[in-house]
């Protein structure tokens, strides 16, 4: 019974179904050692990458980029009262909310709404991106100059 289950799983996992031939996982594994190692190591590598993004240190200064141009910087730790800023480019618009130690896009008219879905970002410098409108909010360790932005 368990053997049947195993072969079922194996048959799902690959395409070596020469007509009528019983599929052997052990022989398949031996024939495909290199790609199998490659796949497993790639999965592990991306997991390490995800773990790495979780361990980044917290940062306070955010830079807002629009169309590849630096727009302004805000020190989130110095924000006393939360305020919003509208990034308007023609018919495109994104409303960014700055709070004490947190930043988020609260409203946008982009088709996918991914920037709004990303929610508040304060931890470990997770950037907020709106790909269709080319708006990006990046955390930096040190700001070069401060443009005061009044909401």
């Amino acid at each position: 019974m368990s053997e049947e289950k195993q072969t079922e799983v194996i048959e799902e996992k690959n395409q070596e179904t020469k007509s009528g031939d019983e599929f052997e996982f052990q022989t398949w594994r031996k024939e495909n050692r290199k790609p199998l190692t490659l796949m497993i190591s790639l999965v592990l590598l991306s997991m390490v990458g995800i773990w790495y993004t979780q361990t980044l240190a917290e940062q306070d200064i955010v830079t807002v980029y629009v169309q590849g141009e630096k727009l302004f910087q805000v020190d989130l730790s110095s924000v006393k009262e939360s305020y919003t800023y509208d990034v308007v480019q023609g018919s495109h618009f994104n409303q960014i909310l700055f709070e004490t130690n947190a930043v988020s896009v609260v409203e946008a008219n982009c088709p996918d709404q991914v920037c709004v879905l990303q929610g508040k970002s304060s931890e470990a410098g997770r950037p907020i991106v709106c790909l269709p409108h080319q708006v990006l909010i990046e955390f930096v360790s040190e700001g070069d100059e401060f443009d005061a932005v009044v909401g």
Binding site: E12, K13, N14, Q15, E16, T17, N32, P35, L36, L38, M39, L42, V43, L45, S46, M47, V48, G49, I50, Y52, T53, T63, Y65, Q67, G68, E69, K70, P111, D112, Q113, V114, C115, L117, Q118, G119, G125, R126, P127, V129, C130, L131, P132, H133, Q134, L136, E138, F139
Partner: protein, 169 residues
């Protein structure tokens, strides 16, 4: 190549483009559930994989790029065209490189590798467009997803290739 064969090839290409475009449009209509930008299944690429291993790389390239262009037109997202075109270009170049050395038995790992190249192309383009490397933050999440969906799509196209006799007659 005889004239009628050429006609057959053209009709087939048109049919596969239509299939890929339909899948692409349905997927574009689905609301994005993950907060990771650019994350999606990419089921339409299964058609590209199938065509690459049944009709050849050049046909796959024609179908892929006409699907990307038409998809951007129909979905009305021209701002996303650059990302998908660059991703498509990267993964297609990889596919063209390895196509000759591999068969449909290898699709289960070729497809995830193509998906990885696709993501790498997209992230590189996005970092060029945005003028910052912050976007690389999402690369591990994207590649994790790409490996999973690429594996699934590889299996899908390999199973389709098993029934090649029905689809490409």
């Amino acid at each position: 190549m005889r004239w009628s064969d050429k006609l057959k090839q053209l009709t087939r290409c048109g049919m596969f483009t239509a299939i890929a475009l339909t899948i692409f449009m349905i997927e574009a209509r689905l609301p994005s559930i993950s907060p990771i930008p650019g994350m999606k299944l990419g089921l339409a690429n299964g058609v590209t994989m199938y065509v690459a291993y049944s009709m050849g790389v050049s046909a796959a390239g024609q179908i892929l790029f006409s699907r990307i262009l038409l998809g951007a037109m129909f979905a009305g997202q021209f701002s996303m065209l650059l990302y998908s075109a660059m991703g498509g270009l990267f993964s297609f170049l990889f596919l063209a490189l390895v196509r000759k050395k591999t068969s449909k038995k290898d699709l289960w790992y070729i497809s995830p590798c193509c998906a990885l190249c696709h993501n790498l192309g997209q992230v590189l383009t996005a970092s060029q467009v945005m003028g910052t490397t912050a976007i690389f933050y999402f690369l591990p999440y994207l590649s994790f997803m790409a490996l999973g969906s690429g594996f699934f799509i590889g299996l899908l196209s390999a199973h389709l290739l098993e029934r090649e006799d029905i689809l490409t007659k």
